[in-house]
């Protein structure tokens, strides 16, 4: 049916055109708007794609860890969404060029700042590069194991892979949390290295996981609308909605806890970070966060019937993904100045990265069967009752 329409070359050509226009625009941004703005955009979008990919990979491993059955028929969706990693990891490696531009601890003045001198054993270029490389290697290995292994299982029907995937899940969790924390500390809070918050790693993880769930919801309904995944039913959506609701609350809890502790203690070096982000011109952006990331998804998803409604789940997922993007923008862009920057440079970079991301998703959505047909747990997942 519409499966053929979705593979139409027109959409693909439009996306390629969008990417090319964005690419040309991005070159213009570098020349005309300056490298700071170029790299800030690059960082926001790279982290956006990276966190969706990491969140999806985390969902895949989480299912293995807890031995869930309900999500097995839908697992191909987060596995495919995790394929944003092969796109985002090279983008993040390129972003290493942004470090001397955007990160104050690389500036010559840092040698005279006692706080930065004290942090130098962590914040120095060689060690930064080592951490980046280690994260990239670890992610690639796990991606290759979980996603490519699952694809191979389609043909081999080897039940041992399911066992091995479960055994690897606990170490994956530990290593995954380390890498997400490193991303949060290195790439986001490192932009203002005098600031300090223990919780920031968990904060980024909450957003990562939540955007993984949102991407999964959108992917599942995208496939269902094209007549694929006919065996995935409202009982399966219900659990997706529950997970989304729970981690909407988790994200808000972590986000607020971080804000409240810093607000209460009112220490100058910590509170100034929030002062730049919730006062003045940044206030409307800050207010978007609780709206998109908490109020809309929470009240949409809190009802029992709502979690079975594709329309409600889709709106909630879009709200969460938008909120996640606004979150990254709000975390990173204030280093450029007291005014939120939103103009043609942002539009051009958005075209480039959206085009790249959508092309990648489109490509991998055709890869392998729509359900993990080689997984012995698939039958249980289909028979599973709410």
């Amino acid at each position: 049916m519409t499966t053929e329409a979705s593979r139409s070359p027109l959409v693909r050509n439009l996306l390629v055109a969008l990417t090319l226009v964005g690419g040309a625009g991005a070159a213009g941004v570098y020349v005309n708007a300056g490298p700071e703005r170029f790299w800030a955009n690059w960082l926001v979008w790279t982290l956006f794609l990276l966190t969706i990919g990491l969140g999806s990979l985390f969902l895949v491993a989480l299912e293995r860890l807890v031995g869930a059955h309900w999500s097995v028929p839908m697992r191909r969706v987060p596995e495919r969404m995790a394929s944003l990693l092969p796109l985002a990891i090279p983008l993040l490696l390129v972003a290493f060029l942004a470090v001397p531009v955007l990160f104050p601890w690389t500036y010559p003045e840092a040698a005279h700042n006692p706080i930065l001198v004290a942090k130098a054993p962590w914040l120095n270029l060689p060690f930064f590069a080592v951490r980046l490389a280690a994260c990239a290697v670890v992610w690639s290995l796990f991606y290759s194991f979980y996603v490519r292994g699952s694809l191979r299982q389609d043909d081999s029907k080897d039940p041992n892979f399911t066992v091995r995937a479960r055994r690897l899940a606990p170490p994956f969790m530990v290593i995954f949390f380390f890498t997400v924390t490193i991303v949060a500390f290195d790439w986001i809070s490192g932009l203002e290295p005098e600031w300090y918050s223990d919780m920031f790693g968990v904060y980024l993880f909450a957003g990562t996981f939540l955007s993984g769930i949102a991407a999964m919801i959108l992917g599942v309904f995208g496939l269902k609308r094209r007549g694929r995944l006919p065996d995935v039913q409202s009982k399966h959506f219900y659990n997706l909605g529950t997970l989304g609701l729970a981690f909407t609350v988790f994200y808000s809890y972590i986000g607020f806890a971080q804000y409240m502790l810093i607000w209460y203690a009112n220490l100058p070096e910590e509170v100034v970070w929030f002062k730049h982000r919730i006062e003045g011109a940044w206030q409307p952006v800050a207010l978007l966060l609780p709206l998109l990331h908490f109020l809309i998804p929470f009240f949409l998803l809190v009802g029992g019937q709502a979690k079975k409604s594709p329309a409600v789940l889709r709106i909630a997922a879009i709200s969460i993904l938008l909120g996640h993007f606004v979150d990254l923008y709000w975390l990173i862009f204030p280093v450029l100045g007291a005014e939120p920057r939103l103009g043609w440079p942002e539009l051009a970079m958005a075209c480039l990265f959206l085009g790249l991301g959508l092309l990648q998703i489109r490509r991998v959505m055709a890869r392998g069967a729509d359900m993990p047909v080689g997984d012995p747990l698939l039958v249980k997942g289909l028979e599973w009752q709410l």
């Binding site: 409240m260 607000w263 209460y264 009112n266 809190v302 029992g304 019937q305």
Partner: protein, 377 residues
Amino acid sequence: MTSGTFAVLGLYSDPQKIVDAANNIRPRKLGRLEAYTPYPVHGLDRAIGLAPSRLGALVMGMGILGTSLALLFEWWTSAVDYPLVTGGKPLFSWQAFVPVMFEVTVLFATFTAGLAMLFVFNKLPFFGHPVLHSEAIKDITRDKLALSIENSGSKFDAEVARQALLENGAESIEVVPVPAWNRPLSLVGLLRTMGAIVAACVVAGVGIYGVQKLLPIVPPLVRMHNQPKLNAFRSSTFFADGRGMRPAVWGTVARGHLPPAFATPEEAGDMIGNPLPLTQQTAERGRKVFSDHCAVCHGAVGDGVALLSRAYGGKPANLLSNELRGRPDGYIYGVMMLGKNAMPSYAPDLDDSDRWSAVHYVRVLQRAQNAKDEDLR
């Protein structure tokens, strides 16, 4: 027969059959459809026509009520009834209120969920169900599933119900009569319940009292706390005058606390100069003294604008003013010793070198705000 029948039970062994039977019988509206099963059967709730629970909406409503009440309460206590500045924050600090609002929301929601489930939707207290007195209950609690058509008024006919169940594959049928006892809240029952509660209280009370009186229970880790010692601001029988805190020996003065030889700050300005040399060390020490004792009113840079002055509307002196820049060191020292206007004496809090260091630091602040070109070189 109709009036004396509570329900007609049809027994099944196969969960799918009971779901099908319920789906067939439900549209005929023979009576209220109910099912008794030893384990949950998927789809049976819809088959017997159970509406979605309204518990969720109730929990939501009560949760929002909890949030609102907590906010109202916190606003009233902190900003209206007993306004008290805490940590220099505004009286109405929503950030500080959120944890309590969250907890009260959860409290209201969970209590509503538990209590409404038991007492509203499950109709407790309910001391016995007629089906518990049927023959079939032994099978129902083991491996049989019962579909029950229950007497719901005039349209109910036990014979029709029996036929309907038989037609839909029931393995056996039992007609459950309305039991003779139908007064769960009798006077005797209430008195027995209350008697049991009173008896339980008496037993628990006597037991706890007895254990505490008779058994040597050593309180953990308070022995150091209970040793004989002097407590600040407490009386003591150890000294003849009954005071716990000792006054200084007559005729002695603590180091750095010589009583001033001047009566006004102006006199001090004429009489004494700063005996401490201005060094990096004394200036650093002055900064510590200043930020501990002075900055709270005079402001971190000494301009007289600070958290406390803003909160209470006081007007502490601007230490950077031309008048104070023209005063001698001894004058500033004198104000610290004697106090001025609303400012109390800081003589007991600071020793002599602290005061003179603070004077140096005030000079540093004044210089910093009026820097000349050569200061930058």
